[in-house]
């Protein structure tokens, strides 16, 4: 009870104070003069707290070459990372390395994206996948997200478009051609070959005197490059992929002649039998070491073929379109990669920001210096630094007009596998040419 006394007293005091009479105000009257015009300067200081942007990661999926520079500049990944860090310090760009093989790369992406996995925000997309990825909605349409597209050559953007949707920011393009040893052709009095017959004649003559040399090397292993070599041959012999009604035309007379020629190259020794196990790297190594007269390859190696540290044939090579028989067309098979956004990314805003940085002139220039031609950002090849890094860029002009896409199909992965299996069966002697091509066509036509 004693403890409660002070509380009661305080309460009573407050009540009494409240009930007491209020003090009476003293009323006074005064006249105040107020000026009519008065300028009042009011300075308001508004203190605003801006929340710092949240730290976030954006993961790119690309092959190991993103960490490699073939020119005097930094590797493309480093260029992207630095440029993003400069513009968006809160975004850290990470790399998820994909397999070297284009097929395995495709399969990894197919698994991730079909499982709606957000781990990868941005990924490298190969040209033949565009139709498949577009129809499956595995790439975010970028039409209104990347204003930098205005600076690109339309053709480069079209390669990575599906039904009007721009799906990728191109970072590298390629086209194939025929590399030859200019010194050897000069020595033996041959012109660079225009037809396959010319090529065989020159190869046989030169290798007869130089048995340590291979005549014509190309990637004939069971992988994507084989599809590209075959496509060059098919069109070079006057064939085509599909009839007007969409039926497979690989097994036409011209198609049979093309694959028979590929087999004959090996049987006659013009191409070493090892080509059946080679990828592009193995084939170009043989040529760059000075051990082959002709090489089928993408043009991008022009950036380093004159580098004496990496090439044994500096200043001794030339590049021309892949030969064609009368009635055929010279065909440089196109390829290339773009960056696309995974629709299941958990940070679309950050992914778009990074894509815009990738699409910027600064990063595209870094790609051009590190990887060389072909880049689609307009005006890039007027830049002195880019020109200095690509002294042989003009050599490509010879093949640019021969561009040929790979067979267009929503089931490209299957079409490619079928071609690889059947053509490889022929060149390794497992199947006769006609049987293999008929099998290829019945399998392709059976696809939905």
């Amino acid at each position: 009870m004693a403890k409660r006394v002070p509380i009661i007293l305080i309460t009573l005091t407050l009540i009494l104070a409240a009930c007491g009479p209020a003090p009476t105000p003293e009323i006074m009257e005064r006249t105040v003069e107020v000026p009519v015009e008065q300028t009042v300067e009011v300075t308001t200081v508004v203190e605003q707290t801006v929340a710092p942007e949240e730290e976030t990661d954006v993961t790119l999926a690309y092959g190991r070459f993103i960490n490699v520079s073939f020119g005097p500049g930094p590797a493309p990944f480093e260029a992207i990372k630095n440029a993003v860090e400069e513009q968006y310090p809160n975004i850290d760009v990470q790399l998820n390395m994909t397999p070297d093989s284009s097929s395995a790369w495709h399969d990894s992406l197919a698994v991730w994206i079909s499982a709606e996995d957000p781990t990868v925000d941005i990924y490298g997309m190969d040209t033949p996948w565009v139709k498949e990825f577009g129809s499956a909605e595995w790439a975010v349409p970028l039409n209104d997200k990347i204003p930098e597209f205005d600076n690109y050559a339309q053709s480069g953007l079209d390669v990575f478009s599906h039904e009007g949707n721009r799906l990728g920011v191109p970072v590298w393009g390629s086209i194939s051609g025929l590399f030859y040893r200019a010194d050897l052709l000069d020595e033996y009095g041959f012109e660079p070959p225009k037809t396959f017959d010319d090529l065989v004649e020159a190869a046989e003559t030169i290798t007869a005197d130089n048995p340590e040399l291979s005549g014509f090397v190309w990637p004939g292993g069971k992988e994507e490059s084989l599809v590209m070599v075959w496509a060059s041959m098919l069109y070079g012999f006057g064939g085509r992929y599909f009839e007007d009604d969409g039926d497979c035309a690989f097994n036409s007379t011209e198609g049979i002649a093309a694959v028979t020629f590929m087999k004959d190259l090996i049987d006659s020794g013009v191409s070493p039998r090892e080509v059946t196990a080679w990828d592009s790297e193995a084939a170009r190594t043989r040529f760059a070491e000075g051990n082959a007269v002709f090489l089928w390859h993408n043009v991008d190696i022009v950036t380093w073929l004159d580098d004496e540290e990496r090439s044994g044939i500096a200043g001794q090579w030339g590049l021309i379109p892949t030969p064609a028989q009368p009635g055929g067309r010279h065909s440089g098979v196109t390829g290339g990669f773009a960056f696309a956004i995974n629709p299941y990314t958990d940070d679309m805003d950050a992914a778009v920001k990074v894509m815009r940085v990738i699409a910027s002139e600064e990063v595209q220039k870094a790609f051009a210096i590190a990887w060389g031609p072909v880049q689609y950002y307009q005006g890039l090849y007027n830049d002195p630094e880019v020109l200095e890094a690509n002294p042989n860029a003009d050599a490509m002009n010879a093949v640019l007009d021969t561009a040929l896409n790979r067979p267009p199909s929503e089931d490209y992965a299957q079409v490619s596998t079928i071609i690889q299996e059947e053509i490889h069966s022929v060149i390794t002697g497992i199947k006769p040419v006609e049987t293999a091509l008929n099998d290829a066509c019945s399998r392709v036509d059976a696809l939905d």
């Binding site: 097929s103 292993g221 992988e223 929503e410 992965a413 299957q414 390794t428 497992i430």
Partner: protein, 300 residues
């Protein structure tokens, strides 16, 4: 007052089994069930999953009509038969060798045997790919230096060599696993029986056939069951080495499930391939189990 929870033996057994069963249910039974369901639908990367067309056994008919399927089935059986035969005899030889050496060296020998087993298959595939490489491979170079061949063979691109090359690489790894299995069986053979046979004048070969083999027969059958099952679903090393080539010469059943499911994103058809492979392995396992049963003694 605390009370002790008293459980009868069956209840304790169930408690021990439940965690394992949950694991099996989540990681095995559920995917198998899902694969069964998927295999009945026309599902691909463009499908609306909730309204995918039901095709019943249509995917299975497509598989049966595929010539590639029958070719790969033939190769899978051939690959399994040859590789299991080789790995069994090499494994048994290695296992017996560990008992024949002086005890001091036994541990070292067993460690050496285990090394190939410890290397992941896909890493082995990369390793063997280099060894078989025609331009810079060690094996081809040694054969040329020994004067056995004029130029390095195309181990992985020559149809006559590819299958042998793949089997050799596979057996190199799996013989060690087989050996580990069989070491367990050999350790159970009582020394006194061998000694008694020696006293009776039984020669080495007779002791092996009449005493060792019958006594380790349950181990042999279990080993063969596991090794055959693994050979039937071998994939990593073959895919890593040849990608199924040259042509389709080394395509195995498992590669079809992989290619259709992950490569072509044809989930329905890929599931049908996977399930057919599963049923084949299951049938073979049941056959083995039936053979093993008379040799096994369980606690009553």
């Amino acid at each position: 007052m605390r009370q002790r929870l008293r459980l009868r033996e069956p209840a304790v057994a169930v408690l021990f089994i439940v965690p394992a069963f949950i694991g099996l249910a989540v990681f095995f039974y559920y995917p198998i069930g899902q694969t069964m369901i998927f295999s009945l639908f026309d599902l691909d990367h463009t499908s609306d999953w909730l309204n995918a067309p039901f095709v019943g056994l249509g995917n299975y008919l497509d598989v049966m009509k595929s010539r590639q399927f029958w070719l790969s089935l033939r190769f899978t059986f051939l690959f399994s038969a040859v590789s299991v035969f080789l790995q069994f005899w090499i494994g048994l030889g290695m296992a017996m060798a560990t008992f024949a050496v002086v005890p001091r060296l036994r541990g070292v020998l067993r460690a050496i045997i285990i090394i190939p087993w410890a290397i992941p298959q896909i890493v082995q595939a990369a390793m063997w790919k280099w060894l078989y490489n025609t331009d810079v491979g060690l094996i081809g170079d040694l054969l040329v230096r020994a004067g056995l061949v004029g130029r390095p063979p195309l181990f992985l691109a020559d149809p006559r060599l590819a299958m042998g090359a793949v089997i050799f690489a596979y057996v190199w790894k799996t013989a060690s696993v087989t050996s580990i299995f069989l070491m367990g069986g050999l350790a159970m053979v009582p020394d006194h029986l061998i000694d008694a046979a020696k006293v009776d004048g039984a020669r080495t070969w007779m002791r092996f056939w009449r005493i060792t083999v019958p006594l380790i027969m349950p181990t042999i059958l279990v080993t063969l069951l596991f090794r055959t099952r693994d050979a039937l679903r071998a994939f990593d090393i073959i895919y890593g080495l040849t990608g199924g080539g040259p042509g389709t010469q080394t395509d195995v059943l498992s590669s079809f499930a992989y290619k259709f499911y992950f490569g072509y994103v044809e989930y329905g058809l890929g599931s049908a391939y996977a399930l057919i492979t599963f049923v084949l392995i299951l049938a073979l396992s049941l056959f083995y189990l039936k053979r093993i049963q008379p040799h096994l003694q369980f606690r009553s």
